[in-house]
Amino acid sequence: MKKVISMDEAISHIQDGMMIMIGGFLACGSPHKIIDAIIEKGVKDLTIIGNDTGFVDRGIGKLVVSGQAKKVIVSHIGTNKETGRLMNEGKLEVVLVPQGTLAEQVRAGGAGLGGVLTPIGVGTPVAEGKDHLIIDGKTYLLEKALKADVALIFGSKVDEKGNVYYHESTRNFNPLMATAAEKVIVEAEELVKVGELDPHLVMTPGLFVQYIVKP
């Protein structure tokens, strides 16, 4: 199973209208080179799931600025003024989700669970229109699992079988998203041989990863 492919081939898996997850937290741990390649390719009408829309010139935000996202599902847009502007103009649909709920929704998608029962958001606008379950006297929202067509993640060290190590705070949503998509493409900062990573330090088992690009 050869997983290392060219950026062109990687990008060929991303099509108009797809639901894609992109790792990173305020652009830390995002697959920057893949994002640039998507902009170059020009696919459109993407629905993007990510922690935030980063900045106008860095991270997921570049795909908002380029107009390629029709919808974003994120916890925060405050660091990218273009997201707010396009939302206010009706050009971008923005779904805001509490960060911990978003993390669990992605995890649930990857773990084959139907959703998440969280107390977070009860009594706030987040709860509107959602099922409320009372379990042992406490109220929980039912937040559905999320899955994507493609997950784009960033790995600090990746071996040829797709085992991924994330350095420091680059980890964030990356290992969750790696479980929750039909196809997972990892941008490797460093590509290493099989056996070079301590099997305790691998945070995403290679079985989740279909493709590796080493820009």
């Binding site: 830390c28 420091e168 705070s169 964030n172």
Partner: protein
């Protein structure tokens, strides 16, 4: 001393040795400067680690290691990296002793609004809803008014971040505890009279019979 330092200093006295604390962006990040000797608190960063250390020297900046505001930081010995699911397991699961956040509005029921002003400013909630819903103690730390505008209300008018979750409000004017009866003023800054504090507070302040100076 500036208002924000007064607030941060008073917040710092809330913690006991070993407490796990998440500090919101802005004013709350000043709190570590005032932690008393002999008290060690564990600072949690919701993007994925514990043990936030001081900002690095400019030539030591490592963009793989940023705080929840996206700014470069360091990690102290004993700190630990994890993913977003574990980060919010810590938050939502009740493993945070306290969170310290700012507010747009807070009210006598302990409701908090700090994530959006409809039609005007919609940064998103990020991790704030989880922090407010999950931490054992929710401390609102903010200037008593915002450029003269009253923020401590009878009822919040903005969309809530959390319903009935605030434990304590600390401003440069005083310390207010949220109780079933309403806001109890337990300490005040003697540079102000109690009447002056009430005048800039819409909520009715119940004056504690044990009220004392703030410092």
């Amino acid at each position: 001393m500036e208002a924000k330092d007064i607030i941060a200093r008073r917040v710092a006295s809330e913690f006991k040795d070993g407490d796990v604390v998440n500090l919101g962006i802005g004013l709350p990040t000043l709190v570590p400067n005032f932690i008393p000797e002999g008290v060690e608190i564990i600072l949690h960063s919701e993007n994925g680690f514990t043990g936030i250390g001081p900002a690095p020297e400019e030539d030591q900046v490592d963009m793989d290691l940023v705080n929840a505001g996206g700014l470069p930081v360091t990690i102290i010995p004993g700190g630990v990296f994890f993913d977003s699911a574990m980060s919010f397991t810590i938050i939502r699961g009740g493993h945070l002793d306290a969170t310290v956040l700012g507010a747009l509005q807070v009210d006598e029921e302990g409701n908090l609004a700090n994530w959006m002003i409809p039609g005007k400013l919609v940064p998103g909630m990020g991790g704030a809803m989880d922090l407010v819903g999950g931490a054992k103690k929710v401390i609102v730390a903010m200037t008593h008014t915002a450029k003269g505008e009253i923020k401590i209300l009878k009822r919040c008018t903005l969309p809530l971040t959390g319903a009935k979750k605030v434990s304590k409000i600390i401003t440069e004017m005083g310390v207010m505890e949220v109780t079933p009866e309403g806001l109890v003023l337990t300490e005040y800054n003697t540079e102000y009279t109690i009447e002056e504090i009430q005048a800039v507070t819409e909520a009715t302040l119940i004056i504690s019979k044990d009220i004392k100076p703030m410092f």
